[in-house]
Symmetry: C2
Subunit: 239 residues, 2 copies
DNA sequence: CCAAAAGTGTTCACCGTACACCCATGA
DNA sequence: TCATGGGTGTACGGTGAACACTTTTGG
């Protein structure tokens, strides 16, 4: 299709901040760039949007190319477009973030356009290409903020999980430890979880009850107080 | 600058949802399109991004072309990019929303590319061009949501205003009436307002105290409860 | 003195927080 | 029997919600 609008067109890319939790640390997936600009530098997985490709499909595609994972929670973060953010030409990037459940940690495999792919703890990142440090820190802020007023953390959980595992996810992202009894009371009162009836036995201690999410893939806003302090709407685009 | 990246480039536009409050109603600014596609149809003010123009500058420019207002609160909403949202070629639109203070209501003037410009109440809109109805309803949701956990409503206020005026703003957006005493207690306890010492005398009744915003242009998140229920960080891009 | 909007406190219910001990299992 | 993590309840304080009357002005 020819350009019908009489304006110069910028390039448009998509970048994805892929979060997971490994060994009690919040980590993100980065790729080592195989080509200029910023060759050899680490960057967010991403690439150009197909001319007939929906934005979320492009994000999903980039995600799958790097992780071979599909069906992840994916949410649009922000669109970055400072005129000089790419040294070669004007590039506007629609940034997204995705959450990988604890049990679906892929061995990330390098795609064609990446020299290497690896997980990095959020607090010890290498220097990043372009403005990817800004994208990443905005994504981190957003994730931490959403923990407080939504059920987004459930997107990190496997199909079945224990309350202790869920608590560890919260503690990792918030960077503080929480009271066990209060945590359980609060999270159960949301009504988002249900017992599977099964137990997880591991190690030499009492087995833990396994729970599942009642409506997986659904992220709900939590409104405290107000009326009868309950749950409000749903949101979230899931891939 | 030539295209160095070997991918077809989409057109990129910006659209702005301009909110204000008039006569106890939430209203948005729309323009009547003077040219195809959707000639004669109403649409959000917007247009193409300059090839060397920052995204927020483009939004600001479109806003000023239609309203002659500068310095408004402006926040990025979402980027819309379904492949068929423009019938002619692929167009990706970075959408923003802006809030116009009560006392700065412009007589909107038609810019070159618009047949007419007018305010419409949010609940009686004409049919809109492209996917602008989706953009508008997402903006409305976001605004209503942010009322609850931020001080965004202050962006609607003139430099000096009464608490009753502020309460009317809240009531208009939320679509429900609020208790006067509770409202005052809550809003004053945020610590964002200060008395000017002046009084507004109008009509045959007791004059009202005038307040001003302590840090105008700053939108703060409110965290209830949690620790010592106070205010957290700031956010918001202001133009 | 009447109309109209401004301004002001208290009570109650509920939720968030702090806090310590018993339980079930494997070794 | 011991070590390890799983699991449970209560008491207190603060905040949100409900609710009605007095004050100041102009006409």
């Amino acid at each position: 299709m020819p350009y019908v609008y009489e304006y110069p067109h910028p390039a448009v890319t998509t970048d994805v901040v892929v979060f997971t939790i490994r060994e009690h640390r919040l980590e993100v997936l980065l790729v080592e760039r195989a080509s200029d600009p910023f060759k050899g530098c680490w960057a967010l997985p991403g690439g150009f949007i197909g001319i007939d490709e929906d934005l979320i499909d492009a994000a999903r595609r980039e995600l799958e190319e790097e992780t071979a994972l599909s069906g992840l929670y994916l949410e649009q973060l922000y669109t970055f477009g400072k005129p000089d953010r790419d040294p070669r030409e004007r590039v506007i990037s629609v940034a997204w973030y995705a959450l990988v459940p604890l049990d679906r940690l892929p061995e990330p495999r390098a795609a064609s356009d990446a020299a290497a792919v690896s997980w990095f703890p959020i607090d010890s990142l290498p220097p990043l290409a372009f403005d990817h440090d800004q994208i990443l820190s905005m994504a981190h802020e957003r994730l931490a903020a959403k923990l407080e007023y939504s059920t987004i953390a459930l997107q990190f959980m496997p199909e079945k999980f224990t309350l202790s595992q869920l608590q560890q996810v919260y503690e990792t992202i918030l960077g503080e430890s929480l009271d066990k009894r209060n945590f359980r009371k609060r999270v159960l009162s949301l009504g988002c979880l249900e017992e599977t009836g099964e137990l997880l036995r591991e190690g030499k201690h009492r087995p833990a009850r396994l729970y599942r999410v009642r409506a997986p893939g659904r992220v709900e806003f939590i409104r405290r107080n107000h009326a009868r302090g309950a749950i409000a709407q749903n949101t979230g685009s899931e891939s």
